[in-house]
């Protein structure tokens, strides 16, 4: 009998992250690799856990709004939106129509903000550096919109139960001359900031399609880009539904599911826009879906601007049990004064009950579920983060692909750890 001794070839494990340039924050993956080919991916999460859900149990409802900004920190206002919608559902208050349009406007601005970051990061992961900087150039303008309306460039805290914090401003913040920039340069920079915020957004919406064309010139027909994304991370439609995917991840697989159409909230049912869907369910289709979504968002923004120009009105409900009275009323009217005091010390109470409301977040279905025991803070707040099921599917999506494809798949999932770890 002859015995063959064959060297035992073992897979090796590799640690990917959390300090990895493509880890999108604090993602840690433990990879089991056979050479360059990935056999198993084990995501380790929790490095950005900030206990948002628990913190919310000890704050009044209003105090938790800014926490929502910090969940998915690239689509801030959308997170607030889901939260205030749940509260509105529980309180059964009506939001003025102008506030609804403002919310839709800023939701779509947020969607563009998010998709621009996704595009830049995805392209950077695949090795195209320039797209990242182009995308950030446009994000700068959108941050200025955030700043004009709320005073903060990122963590806006602009949506309130019952509406939005204040109406759109009639003037934009301007650049000031300095040692480095002469006044003629400043005038150039301030050119589209002379009018109101709406003028500024309209100017942006006019320019934006050419920017998207610019990104597409660099990527869409690029052979290397196609080689790196076509056929990578394929999810078939049934599997995508079974895995709990939502948003562009689901639509990239060809399932036409968008809460803005299927369960219209705010004024989406009155707006004209399309839902782009993919066919193959690979990274390239998801890329195309998101690019098209940016164009559709731009269309929605234009429609909102037109409506908002024509229709002035209140932007927050006048139910003073929930929303604060105006400053002048507060100074003169005893009851308003009491409302103001009660609201900003004790906060409003929500009747016993539970509710779930979700928005079509740029990453998928973002929902909050609140159980109230009648107190001024939630008994339990549960956040449904779209990124969580996506990350859970990463093992299935990457199996048999190479290390470079893993990076492309992380990019296509649009992972942000603020929402996954919460």
């Amino acid at each position: 009998m002859r015995v063959f001794i064959v060297a035992e070839i073992k897979n090796y494990t590799m640690n990917f992250g959390p300090q990895h340039p493509a880890a999108h924050g604090v993602l840690r993956l433990v990879l089991e690799m056979d050479g360059e080919v990935i056999q198993r991916v084990d995501p380790h999460i929790g490095l950005l856990h900030r206990a948002t859900e628990k913190l919310a149990e000890n704050r009044t409802y209003l105090q938790s709004v800014p926490y929502m900004d910090r969940l998915d920190y690239v689509s801030m206002m959308m997170n607030e939106h889901a939260y205030v919608m749940t509260i509105e559902k529980l309180l059964q208050i009506k939001v003025p129509i102008r506030a609804q349009y403002i919310r839709v406007l800023f939701d779509e601005i947020t969607r563009i903000l998010n998709h621009l970051l996704w595009l830049g990061a995805h392209a950077l992961d695949v090795g195209a550096m320039t797209v990242f900087l182009y995308a950030f150039r446009e994000r700068e303008d959108l941050f200025d919109c955030y700043e004009a309306v709320s005073g903060a460039r990122m963590h806006a805290a602009y949506y309130r139960p019952g509406g939005v914090y204040r109406d759109l401003p009639s003037s934009m913040p301007q650049f000031q001359p300095s040692k480095k920039q002469s006044s003629s340069e400043i005038n150039k920079l301030n050119k589209n900031r002379t009018g109101s915020l709406l003028d500024f957004i309209e100017d942006f919406a006019k320019r934006f399609p050419t920017y998207v064309d610019e990104y597409e010139t660099l990527l869409t027909d690029n052979r290397i880009w196609k080689q790196r994304t076509v056929g990578i991370g394929v999810v078939d439609p049934d599997r995508a539904v079974a895995l709990g995917m939502t948003g562009p991840m689901l639509r990239g697989s060809g399932v036409e599911w968008d809460l803005r159409k299927k369960q219209p909230y705010e004024t989406y049912s009155e707006l004209d826009f399309k839902i782009p869907i993919g066919k193959e369910g690979d990274c390239y289709d998801r890329y195309l879906v998101r690019m098209e979504e940016m164009r559709e968002s731009n269309k929605i923004i234009k429609q909102c601007i037109d409506w908002l120009r024509e229709n002035p009105g209140p932007v927050i409900s006048n139910d003073n049990k929930v929303t604060p009275p105006s400053r002048s009323e507060m100074k003169e009217d005893m009851e308003s004064m009491i409302h103001h005091f009660k609201l900003f010390t004790e906060g409003f109470h929500i009747p016993k009950g539970e509710a779930y409301a979700a928005v079509e977040h740029p990453k998928g279905e973002f929902g909050t579920y609140i159980i109230s025991d009648g107190a001024n803070k939630p008994y339990r707040l549960k956040i449904r983060a779209p990124g969580f099921p996506h990350l859970a599917a990463i093992n299935e999506m990457t199996k048999g692909h190479m290390l470079s494809d893993l990076v492309a798949i992380i990019g296509t999932q649009d992972i942000v750890f603020g929402e996954i770890d919460r």
Partner: protein
């Protein structure tokens, strides 16, 4: 002029004279490397709608000096489990051939350190040695990222060396010489006589292979900062890292220089009414180097297996076909076009 130290014995004076000539090549080379990094950052900066370094000195012109100083004073960290000898040998093995190859580069009809007949062969040999530095760096670092990077780099350089070698065969057939000076002289007579025209597909393949050889984007899988962090030099810091960096840029200049010499007529002027001069050579090299920067700003990175496919299944067959085609044409009355 060969003996400028008549009072010294001949052997010493020759050595001194050679060392002086080497210094006269290496110092401008180091300066060009430093300013190539500066131009890379400025050019890519402008392509990406930003400014690039503009604070140190006028227009940021002192930035490379500042960077060099910073790197010199930084600590070279050895990973605990690395092999110290190999760890330090690797950067030396990378930069030595990158500089040594310059010995046979003719800057002018006269200006060449050693005018040897097998010049092209020598350059090929030198550039092939550089891969050992990368492999040893990846091995000695004792890190999985570095190891993966060095394996990728080894496979890539070996396969593109073949495509590159075949393109050079085409040049040899046209020039009937391995001496770089004679290859340039063979192209005299204006822009129409340059080898780029009869060997156009070979020129394109040479240039793409050159980008791959030097591990530059879009073939930078050995570094692949979004996949394997920094690849083979992930564990290097301070001057040891700077040496890898220097070698990469020196190699970029070297391959552009070779392309200019072999396909674009070296120091020869494109039109008869301009005199031949080294300025032409430098202009051609700068023009080719610009493409390296342009590629880096534009393209996504290839995947490792796609690079291999491109090299073996596309470039090598095309080069072989074109060599046979050139050989065939040389037997026909059209042979004048290929000389």
């Amino acid at each position: 002029m060969d003996n400028i130290f008549p009072q010294l014995p001949e052997i010493i004076s020759t050595t001194l004279w050679t060392i002086l000539k080497i210094v006269a090549i290496v110092i401008p080379l180091m300066i060009s490397v430093a300013y190539l990094t500066y131009f890379e950052r400025r050019v890519i900066g402008f392509m990406q709608g930003r400014l690039g370094p503009n604070r140190v000195g006028y227009f940021g012109l002192l930035q490379p000096i500042a960077d060099a100083l910073k790197l010199m004073f930084k600590e070279i960290i050895h990973p605990t489990k690395s092999n110290n000898v190999l760890f330090l040998l690797a950067p030396i093995l990378t930069i030595a051939p990158a500089f040594a190859a310059w010995a046979v580069i003719p800057f002018d009809a006269e200006l060449v350190l050693s005018d040897i007949n097998a010049g092209l062969l020598y350059v090929l040999a030198m550039t092939s040695i550089a891969v050992y530095g990368v492999i040893i760096a990846g091995w000695a670092s004792n890190s999985k990222y570095a190891f993966l990077g060095s394996l990728r780099s080894a496979a890539q350089i070996v396969s593109y060396e073949i495509a590159m070698g075949f393109t050079l065969v085409g040049v040899l057939m046209c020039a009937n010489s391995l001496n770089l000076g004679e290859i340039v002289i063979g192209q005299s007579g204006g822009i129409s006589q340059w080898y780029i025209w009869p060997l156009f597909p070979l020129f394109i393949i040479y240039f793409i292979s050159a980008v791959a050889e030097t591990n530059r984007a879009p073939f930078d899988v050995a570094e692949g900062e979004s996949e394997i962090v920094a690849g083979f030099h992930v564990e290097y810091s301070g001057m040891a890292f700077a040496v890898f960096f220097l070698a990469e840029y020196a190699n970029m200049i070297l391959v552009s220089m070779l392309a200019a010499l072999m396909f674009l007529g070296g120091w020869l002027s494109p039109f008869d009414f301009f005199p031949d001069s080294i300025v032409w050579l430098l202009l051609k090299v700068a023009f080719l180097l610009f493409f390296f920067l342009w590629f880096r700003a534009t393209f996504p990175r290839y995947r490792y297996d796609q690079i291999m496919r491109l090299g073996w299944k596309i470039f090598i067959p095309i080069t072989i076909f074109w060599i046979i085609f050139v050989g065939f044409m040389m037997q026909t009355p059209y042979r004048e076009m290929f000389h």
